[in-house]
């Protein structure tokens, strides 16, 4: 009887509007510091209502990468590179030959390629109908798998490279793809994550669907997941990255283990491109619990996708309640860091694992009065809550009806 391999996290970090690395992000999550700001230049976009975004303000340390590594990287890839390099360093794998000898694989996603390069490329062919002056590097920055391709080149990765570009589940599907590659025995280690670059074309999609917040004069007070006065999401940028390893492989190299990925599921609503579907959300959570072999009563924290849209939060709360009842604490990090789209699955997995390790739960920023249309859950509000977490779940949902759910187990030696 063969036992199922175990997948552990040995490196993890992220960069978002709250800062780079756990220290500033932890401080912001605990103190209620918002990463949302007004984006004045969006006023020039005709028809765009929202002027809000969550922007990474740290300069990206990239010049040292050199021209050939940088020439195909737009901002989305640069953000990913910063997180990925820090995650490899966190796993004590930077400079390790196993990064480049085929041992390490890669799964990474983003909603799209770098928007400014998409526009430059589209302008040349769609408007000017000419190849004159077109930079091939614009295509390399704009292509759907630009993040995965550039990271693989940057770290000279020779294992599998799987782009997971499914909008708001790009990051969580990357984690899942990494888990599956390890479970199948195809790679002993995977660098996984997601990234997003703030741009008005992403804000505009939600804006046209009337799903963005337009509290343009009060950036710190929005978005408001699950709150009765929420008026939509705020797009953000950033990147999250994790190093996943098969337990035996991690132990053999003496890696520090940060947590275990016990369950993973992805599914589709199969109903509608944009409308949330509570039944599909419920199903993916149940599939992840079954994959983990964990009962609903064993989950001590649910990290919600909850972007602060009218219908999304209602559907997600109903699905969460259907699976768990009102017992486990629930919070969303979108109030702090905005909706980082392709990055959010990885950023939220990282923060959930870190909070689980430290024994606390972040509150949902700006959740002051729970919407009566949302199901009665144990919403964590106002202040961080001390909470022993043995198992946690992190959920994400994307356009296309794509659903993901991850179950984490806290790591203690001897397991």
């Amino acid at each position: 009887v063969s036992t199922r391999p175990r997948v552990v996290v040995t490196g993890m970090t992220g960069v978002c509007a709250l800062g780079a690395g756990w220290k500033p992000v932890r401080e912001a999550l605990r103190s209620g510091r918002s990463g949302i700001t007004t984006i004045p230049e969006w006023e020039t976009v005709e028809g765009l209502h929202t002027r809000l975004g969550a922007r990474v303000t740290e300069p990206l340390d990239v010049a040292r990468l050199g021209r050939k590594k940088l020439r195909g990287m737009g901002r989305v890839a640069l953000l990913a590179a910063q997180a990925a390099e820090s995650a490899l360093a966190d796993a004590a794998l930077l400079g390790d030959p196993r990064v480049s000898d085929g041992t390490l694989g890669l799964a990474f996603g983003s909603t799209s390629g770098s928007p400014p390069s998409m526009l430059a490329y589209a302008r040349a062919f769609g408007v000017a109908r000419s190849t004159r002056g077109v930079q091939p590097t614009d295509y390399l920055k704009a292509m759907s798998h630009t993040v995965a391709a550039n990271l693989a080149q940057l770290f000279e990765i020779r294992g599998r490279v799987i782009p997971t570009c499914s909008a708001c589940t790009s990051g969580s599907q990357a984690i899942g793809a990494g888990v599956e590659a390890i479970l199948l025995g195809r790679q002993p280690a995977m660098l996984v994550g997601g990234a997003e670059e703030l741009h008005e074309i992403e804000a505009a999609v939600f804006d046209m669907l009337l799903a963005t917040s337009t509290r343009n004069d009060a950036p710190a007070r929005t978005p408001r997941p699950f709150d009765a006065a929420r008026d939509g999401l705020v797009v953000g940028e950033g990147a999250g990255a994790l190093v996943l390893e098969e337990l035996g492989f991690a132990r053999a190299r003496g890696a520090r283990i940060r947590g275990e990925i016990l369950g993973w599921a992805t599914s589709c609503d199969g109903v509608h491109l944009t409308s949330p579907d509570a039944a599909g959300m419920q199903r993916v959570m149940e599939l992840a619990l079954a994959d983990a072999g964990v009962a609903p009563g064993e989950i001590d924290y649910v990290n919600a996708h909850a972007t602060a849209t009218r219908r999304g939060d209602v559907a997600e709360s109903a699905a969460t309640h259907a699976v768990f009842g009102a017992r486990p604490p629930v919070s969303s990090l979108k109030g702090h860091m905005g909706h980082t789209l392709g990055a959010c699955g990885a950023l939220e997995a990282w923060c959930t694992l870190a909070m689980m390790h430290e024994g606390w739960v972040a509150p949902t920023l700006n959740l002051e009065q729970v919407d009566p249309l949302c199901a009665p859950l144990d919403y964590v509000t106002a202040a961080p809550r001390a909470q022993e977490i043995h198992h946690a779940m992190s959920n994400n949902f994307a356009f296309g009806g794509v659903n993901t759910s991850l179950v984490f187990r806290r790591w203690s030696e001897g397991q």
């Binding site: 050939k68 020439r71 004159r132 002056g133 077109v134 590097t137 390399l140």
Partner: protein, 102 residues
């Protein structure tokens, strides 16, 4: 300030008249240094694009795109693949300048 504006205008503007050989060499060297972080003293006419300046196929197309923007010429032709040295680039621009009315 006006110097900066003038050179920027010149850089972006398309040539309205044929450029002299030395002007073309100056522009080619300028583009190579700017686009590929090269030192001016390395970009001599005999410098080999691949071996001496570390340029590859992606760079060759990027170079052509930049020269197109500056000269108004259309360079993306098979002769691009025959460029081996900085002087070859200059010669291609001169040759095309004679063929294409800009």
């Amino acid at each position: 300030v006006s110097d900066t504006v003038d050179s920027e205008t010149a850089r972006r503007g398309r040539a309205s008249a044929s450029l002299r050989r030395d002007e073309i060499l100056t522009r080619v060297r300028d583009v190579l240094c700017r686009e590929f972080d090269l030192a001016l003293e390395a970009v001599v006419p005999t410098a080999r694009l691949a071996e001496d300046l570390d340029l590859d196929s992606i760079d060759a197309v990027a170079l052509a795109a930049q020269l197109e923007q500056e000269t108004g010429l259309l360079l993306k032709e098979e002769r691009l693949q025959r460029m081996r040295t900085v002087q070859d680039v200059v010669d291609v621009v001169i040759e095309l300048q004679g063929q294409q009315r800009v």
